[in-house]
Symmetry: C2
Subunit: 376 residues, 2 copies
């Protein structure tokens, strides 16, 4: 299911003793044919080793395999961490018999711990033997840390499919860009399609879709050192995006997948009981609409008010007023509409016609409990 719905993808997961819980924690996604590869990475200056390695690897433009672990971010681990990330890449290439340049690597979990490479290296061979067309579901579960549920989707459009999985629940305030580099909880998303998409087009579309989805969510304003989103397009459906209409359709599907996964991350934010959707209108330009929407979604005071179903639009005004987005104090309007599991917050800045949407979640005692004592 999910990422193995598109043709030509296999996946597998197993427990390699990285998570303290003993649950599956090492995963492999495999494309039977070389796939165009696009990626965006955290802009955190403090970068995990796998982020630095994958930023180098993605330059080949092609990918056959993504090797990932959860339970350990391999971050703040110095030269040893870099060696370990490269060792994961090399072993994956070796057991699959593929070019080393076509392997991406990610990690998520605690910072400042060395990976248990004695377990991981032999497990990679076992993973390769376990690869199957049914493995997507297992991978969607194994990449999780504090998440309470898997996040997966597959959308069929004409003759091809766009699918994705994601993880993320805390330390969620992504700000990912294609070329700049970025643990603990982190957001990761892997998107697969069997459409044929040239690499530059895929990268351009992924960047735009991420801007409107993952880069518009926040759980706790804490940007991770490990955030990554990868998109692979292996062309196994034999469908090419031959004109601007078919490209537009593909982009819309890709964005739909990204927005679905991003909202699922916000909805499953640590301790959350409510998804918050923030709709900003009346901004001077799109950039300011985005700044205002995300500032509202980030306000701890507003998040507490949503948790308590306490109607308090003053907190919306205060949140927007503290940003650089231009407002008209006399014409601003704001509202909160509480649902059972979703709250919609609206704010019109009263100065223009631009709009943006951001997503977050309420702030509850559950977030405190999870993060006062963090264990994966």
């Amino acid at each position: 299911m999910s990422i193995t719905v598109p043709k030509g993808y296999q996946a597998a997961a197993l427990a390699a003793g990285i998570k303290q819980s003993g649950k599956p924690d090492l995963t492999l996604i495999y494309s039977e044919a070389p796939a165009s590869a696009a990626g965006v990475f955290t802009s955190n200056q403090f970068k995990a080793a796998p982020v630095m390695v994958s930023q180098k690897q993605i330059k080949s433009g092609l990918c056959r395999a993504i090797i990932s672990n959860a339970g350990n971010a391999n971050c703040g681990t110095g030269k040893q961490g870099m060696d370990d990330a490269w060792a994961m890449v090399k072993e994956t290439a070796k057991v699959l018999g593929i070019n080393q340049k076509h392997v991406l690597v990610t990690s998520t979990g605690s910072i400042h711990k060395y990976l248990p490479m004695k377990n991981i290296i032999p497990a990679i061979r076992t993973l390769a033997l376990k690869l199957s067309r049914a493995g997507g579901r297992d991978v969607a579960r194994a990449i999780l840390t504090t998440d309470t549920r898997p996040k997966e989707i597959a959308i069929k459009v004409g003759g091809y499919t766009v699918a994705g999985i994601a993880k993320g629940s805390g330390m969620i305030h992504p700000n990912m860009a294609p070329s700049t580099g970025s643990g603990q909880a982190t957001m990761l998303a892997f998107i697969t399609t069997d459409a044929a998409v040239p690499r530059p087009l895929l990268q351009k579309m992924l960047k735009q879709a991420v801007e409107n989805s993952f880069n518009m969510i926040s759980v706790d304003q804490c940007q991770s050192t490990n955030d990554c989103v990868f998109a692979l397009a292996n062309g196994q459906s034999n469908i090419k995006l031959q004109n601007s209409k078919s490209q537009k359709k593909f982009y819309e599907t890709l964005e739909k997948v990204c927005i679905y996964l991003a909202k699922e991350i916000a909805r499953d934010g640590e301790g959350a009981t409510q998804l918050i959707e923030v709709k900003v209108t009346g901004a001077r330009n799109e950039k300011e609409a985005r700044i205002a929407a995300r500032a509202i979604a980030c306000s701890d005071l507003l998040k507490c008010a949503v948790y308590g179903h306490d109607y308090n639009p003053g907190r919306i005004f205060a949140a927007v007023g503290s940003t650089s987005a231009k407002i008209n104090q006399g014409r601003m309007k704001a509202d909160m509409k509480f649902g059972k599991k979703e709250t919609v917050v609206t704010c019109d800045l009263g100065v223009g016609k631009s709009t943006a949407v951001a997503w977050g979640c309420d702030l509850t005692e559950g977030y405190i409990r999870i993060n006062a004592k963090y264990h994966t």
Copy 2:
């Protein structure tokens, strides 16, 4: 006590029915002689009416009285709110028989509610009759909202005294500046001295002291619409700051008062059990040291770790890495030292020699409880 320790100041507080609790909520601080007046105000674009009024008033350079209420921020109240703030100023000038230009006004409490002016106007006359040299303590209590205790200090230096009171517990992320403008919980501080300090010097010193104190604290990253700090110097000690040495001594005392009050606000942050002191070293310049220190103090993940006494320096690296402060990933160091009521967090950025200190508090279930249902 406190602000009425310096010579020539009187104060009074009473209950005017603004706080739902029925506690004292209207206060008057009076200087028997015209005092040099300096002020800094929130930079939130969404400004409360009393902020806009006091920004205008402070331009006279002199102050005789500060009229303040708690329980209602008089923010988002449009023209009516402006009329009400001016009415408070005018009534205060009238009952005291002083120049209207020499009255400052502040409010704190809920946003989007009109002040109960029917109660307030007659209460101002009663307040004037209650003024006394012993009234400072009552005022320190009446300005509070969600604070659990008053914050007050008086330091005698040579022949004069510098004293101050403050309030603030939630919606605390001050960023105050002299000329730019800015409810709910808010930070307010009133500083009095009987030293003689020319207005331009007082303004310059207050700005600098606030940069190193109130502008370096954060409880919840939420900047209020109502933050104000005022300093009055009425010269009643007959001590003048005649040379650079005496000016330096005065500045150091003023900064000590501001830092004490700022730390008291952070320590009394909504739901807090711990004061967090963040010391950044090894930054490229002071600006970046300040950015890094405050980012660490603001991290919800770090604040939860402090609450749980969970040693987790990875969260320090992640917080600093997401700022614009230059770091050397290989040379960075961070540490956490838990005390019973104070945690010291240190971080060396590994790139230079500049330092900064910021203060915050832990994030607990108490913060959630207070802000899921907010009532003053």
